[in-house]
Each structure stands twice: as C-alpha cells, then as structure tokens.
C-alpha cells in the first residue's frame, strides 16, 4: 500500500505544478487564437519519462479537469478541444514512446505529442465547430507553431530530467 501512497503524492504534486503552469499560461494573451506554448506538457513529459504512462495520464487528466475548473472553461468548447488534444497527445506519446524506447528522448516525445495535440484539436474544431475550408488554411501555421513549441517544451523537459538524474546520482 505504501507504493500507492507514494504514487498519490507524486500525482498530486506534479498535477499541482502542471495546473499552476496551465493557469499562468492562460493569463497571458496569445498572439494568435489557438496558439499557446503548452508548457504544462513539460510536466506530463517528465512524469512519463520518470514514472511511466499511468502516472502521466493521471497528471494530465487532473491538469485538464482542475485547470479548466479554475480558468472557467469546464465543459465549454475550449474544454472539449483541450481534452481531445490531450487524448491525441497521450496516444501519440504512448505509441512513439513504446516504439522508440530509449532512442527517443523528451524532445522527440514532446514534438510528437505537440503535433498530435494540435492535429486532434484542429480535427475536432473542423468537424464540430467551424466546418469551413478557411480553417484548413490555418493548419500550416498552427502546426508550425506547435512544432516550435514542442521543441521548446521538449528541451525544457530534457534539461529538467538531466538535472533530476544528476541529483539522483549525487544522492547515491
């Protein structure tokens, strides 16, 4: 049972971090609607790489639920988009993480999940909210942005992981 308690605390702590980042990000105005850095996913990545998929899903799920409650978008179209993006990102993360194994680090996973996140959102936005060809004209811009931010988040996650593992090495 102690393992469960430890995990609970891990999930709670990481989710709190992710929620804080999520809300900070929501406070900043975005230059373009639909584009935001998604730095909260740094936390998801770190949890995935250090503690596995199950905890990562917990943390991401908590972040979306609590984050949307606090920002005030719970069950709104934004929430649906956010959730779809997260599910798509998780699927991509799992797929690439399983296939790539140790060859793929935080940067690759981050890029893949960022692109999956954006693609999932665009698909839902197009099918449910704005079935207009003009939306598709935005696809290259949106994907470029998510590629850029995916690399940035990945590099941040990779450096944090580096620091964490160095700490762990020193402690031993």
């Amino acid at each position: 049972m102690s393992g469960t308690h430890r995990e609970d605390r891990l999930v709670a702590g990481f989710a709190a971090l992710a929620i804080a980042i999520h809300i900070l990000e929501a406070a900043f105005p975005s230059p373009l609607p639909g584009i935001k850095p998604g730095l909260a996913n740094v936390i998801t990545l770190i949890v995935y790489l250090r503690h596995g998929l199950r905890l990562a899903i917990w943390v991401a799920g908590m972040r979306i639920l609590v984050g949307s409650l606090l920002v005030g978008t719970f069950l709104s179209p934004t929430f649906l988009l956010s959730a779809t993006g997260a599910v798509a990102a998780m699927l991509a993360l799992t797929l690439v993480g399983t296939i790539g194994g140790r060859q793929v680090g935080a940067v690759g996973l981050s890029v893949v999940s960022a692109l999956a996140h954006m693609s999932g959102q665009i698909t839902v936005a197009y099918l449910l909210f704005i079935p207009h060809p003009a939306l598709l004209k935005l696809v290259p811009v949106l994907l470029s942005a998510s590629l850029t931010f995916g690399v940035v988040s990945g590099l941040i996650a990779a450096s944090v992981l580096q620091i964490l593992s160095r700490r762990a090495g020193e402690a031993e």
Binding site: G3, G100, G105, L155, A158, S165
Partner: protein
C-alpha cells in the same frame, strides 16, 4: 495497486542523459517534413480552374483553355468585349459597359469564379478542376 507500475527510466541510473537523442533527431526531421508538406497541401493551388466558359446572351458560346495565353474579342449586345487569358488566369480586359464592373472583377482563377458584363450580355466563368465553395451557411 502494490505494483509500482512501469518505471521507465527512473529505476536504473542512466549513465548519461543527452538532451537530444538519435530518435529525437529522426522525429524532428520527419515532423519538419510533415509540417512543410501541410504548407504545400493547404496553401498550394487548390481548385485551379482548367478553362473559362464564355457565355453570350445566356448561351454558352465557347471555352478558353487557361493554359493557352490569348486575347479574344467578343461581340456582345452593345459592343465588343475583350477577354484575356494569361498564365492560367482570365479577365475582362475591356468592355463597352458604363460601370466596367466586369473589368474591375480582375483576374479569375479558381474554379467557380465568375465575372459578368451584364450590359453587354457576356459572362465568363472558370470551370473544371476542383470547385471551391462560394458561400457557406451554418
């Protein structure tokens, strides 16, 4: 729930954790290629028309291939309209109507685009290729 679950990388101390790994670079290249391809797919020439259908007095008169540059004069109700095809586009170059709305319609390129000189009874419509919507109601 006693099982701590899959500990991907935390259990055994990795000797070195490079910021970017081989797989990352491969993914980056693939992703950049994919994103680049979306520019071509979504911003490329879509619905490019193949020919221009010219109608005179509501009767389809003749078709102009858009890949052959040429300028034609057409006799309409009140005079001669000049239609020009250039580089896959078509436009009214001149028309004897007072408002010259047809001329100011400019170049037509996408399938479905229309310019009309109503006083002279001449309509030019781009046809063929993939037709774009001209209006959508939700």
């Amino acid at each position: 729930m006693a099982d701590p679950g899959p500990e991907t990388a935390s259990g055994n101390p990795a000797p070195a954790r490079p910021l970017i790994r081989a797989g990352d670079i491969l993914i980056l290249l693939l992703a950049a290629g994919l994103v680049g391809a979306t520019f071509g797919a979504f911003w490329g020439p879509r619905g490019q028309g193949e020919m221009a259908l010219v109608s005179v007095n509501r009767q389809p008169a003749f078709e102009l291939m858009l890949d052959q540059d040429k300028t034609v004069d057409i006799q309409g109700r009140i005079g001669t309209s000049t239609i020009m095809v250039d580089g896959g586009r078509v436009r009214f170059l001149d028309s004897p109507c007072p408002g010259r709305y047809c001329v100011h319609s400019g170049w037509l390129q996408q399938s479905g685009e229309v310019a009309a000189c109503l006083p002279n009874g001449i309509v030019v419509e781009v046809i063929g290729g993939e037709r774009e919507y001209d209006a959508i109601n939700l």
